[in-house]
Symmetry: C2
DNA sequence: ATCTGTTATCTGTGATCACACATAGCAGAC
DNA sequence: GTCTGCTATGTGTGATCACAGATAACAGAT
């Protein structure tokens, strides 16, 4: 179908003067979007945005009828997410969003420091000027949200995610980026608890200090300083959640 | 069924004196083993053991008929492995063992140093005496294989894996362990290329030196030294593979 | 009234069928 | 002889059906 459309365009636009050399750059790249991929993306978004609470159970058929497909694509999407620890199957075969015991939360925090620290160091060395500017832009958005009289926790959370991910993307290490994404998928449901703590969290938190230090180190091309600031950011946010005593165990 | 069996045992053995408190410790824990899990385990074993070459293609139906099941469990197992980057689907929808370009190999090596370094440090602090002895046992097996007149590369490789995994398991961080396992799943097919280089690789390699240093640091409870030795082990093995110029790109 | 044993409904798992697409092989034209 | 276009086969994807097991509601006994 792709080729046919291209030929039609060609006939209309260029007439009989033969195919111009840049034709294959003009056709849009075909993106295979299987139903399972869509469901997978939807569930991923759900978890990343923190719209699914830990311990929440659901059924394949229920999801399927909600989305409007059969149970099959849902099964595949769920099995993928289970493989990434973003969902879990109980011994009863029930599917749910995993609980987050304190020990598991601490372990994930430790892993995050290691992996995101590595990504940060690498990004500081490898980022282009445009990528640095992008990170700085998200940092400004976050700071602006924080300085509002009525900060929106969800918006701040989103800018925070964009900031971190823009930084990690600048490391140009695709597998590492994907692993970090997997970690955020797991902590997403509990990060939700963080910004739901109310606007005070945004204002009182140390996040903006750490973010400013990260951007400064990025612009100064100082990998160690950037890593230190990032680890402090992750650690203090974790301390805040742990101090709220909302995690089981 | 589990409960019924337990009651029957109870009636016969203990008569009418009521259920003894330790009854639930006598019944074997039920292990749910779905077909998809079995296929997943088989494919995992295949990749970890390096019996699947990078770029090798296969079909769901082919695998299904080889195992003796329908295509459905294979689909689920494959989709899980794809989520872990242990397999990949081409834009043509074909399934294959991923290729390993040099850049990707270097990236994985970097991530391994970070994650396995973290696991090693933690293990040195948290390992029990029994776990230390276990690691040392595998180190002896590896060294013994190396000192044989005709070293078996596959056996040495296996002992190497057992040694590393016993160490990481001793960190008692299940998620971290699982992520490391996922990394080995990805490099498994190319590690195969390493020990297939012939028995010389086993003898000439620096692995035994690093392993001895790791065990020594473990017994001395010196996390930094253990991490240094481990990183050197990973790095030099990677250098060897890179120097053989068998990786594409 | 509480507890136990049963039954009904539902859920995940696996098999089978149907379809769209991709690859390979072959025939025809230049 | 080389290339284009068509056809046949096979593959992944999705839907539907069948079954084992789990949950929950209910009836009966103590």
């Amino acid at each position: 179908m792709e080729h046919k459309t291209a030929s039609a365009d060609e006939d209309v636009e260029a007439g009989t003067e033969g195919p111009p050399p840049g034709l294959d750059t003009r056709v849009v790249r075909i993106v295979r979007q299987t139903l399972a991929d869509q469901v997978y993306g939807d569930l991923k978004e759900l978890l990343l945005a923190g719209r699914a609470a830990p311990g929440e159970r659901f059924t394949l058929r229920g999801l399927a009828s909600a989305i409007g497909t059969s149970a099959m694509p849902v099964r595949e999407a769920v099995s993928r997410l289970v493989a990434e620890n973003a969902l879990e199957v109980l011994p009863n075969r029930a599917v749910r969003v995993p609980l987050m015991p304190r020990a598991r939360f601490k372990e994930l925090r430790l892993i995050r420091c290691s992996l995101e620290g590595l990504a940060t160091e690498t990004a500081v060395r490898a980022a282009s000027d445009a990528e640095i500017a992008e990170v700085e832009g998200f940092e400004r958005l976050f700071a602006a949200e924080r300085d509002k009289p009525e900060p929106d926790g969800a918006a701040a959370m989103c800018h925070n995610k964009d900031l971190h991910f823009a930084l990690y993307r600048a490391a140009h290490l695709p597998t590492l980026f994907q692993m970090i994404e997997g970690l955020w998928l797991q902590i997403g449901p509990v990060l939700n608890l963080d910004f739901r703590a109310g606007p005070d969290r945004v204002r009182q938190g140390e996040a903006h200090i750490r973010h400013a230090a990260m951007v400064a180190a990025l612009k100064a091309r100082d990998p160690e300083a950037a890593r230190t600031a990032l680890v402090a950011d992750i650690w203090s946010a974790g301390d805040f959640i742990l101090s709220r005593n909302v995690l089981p165990d």
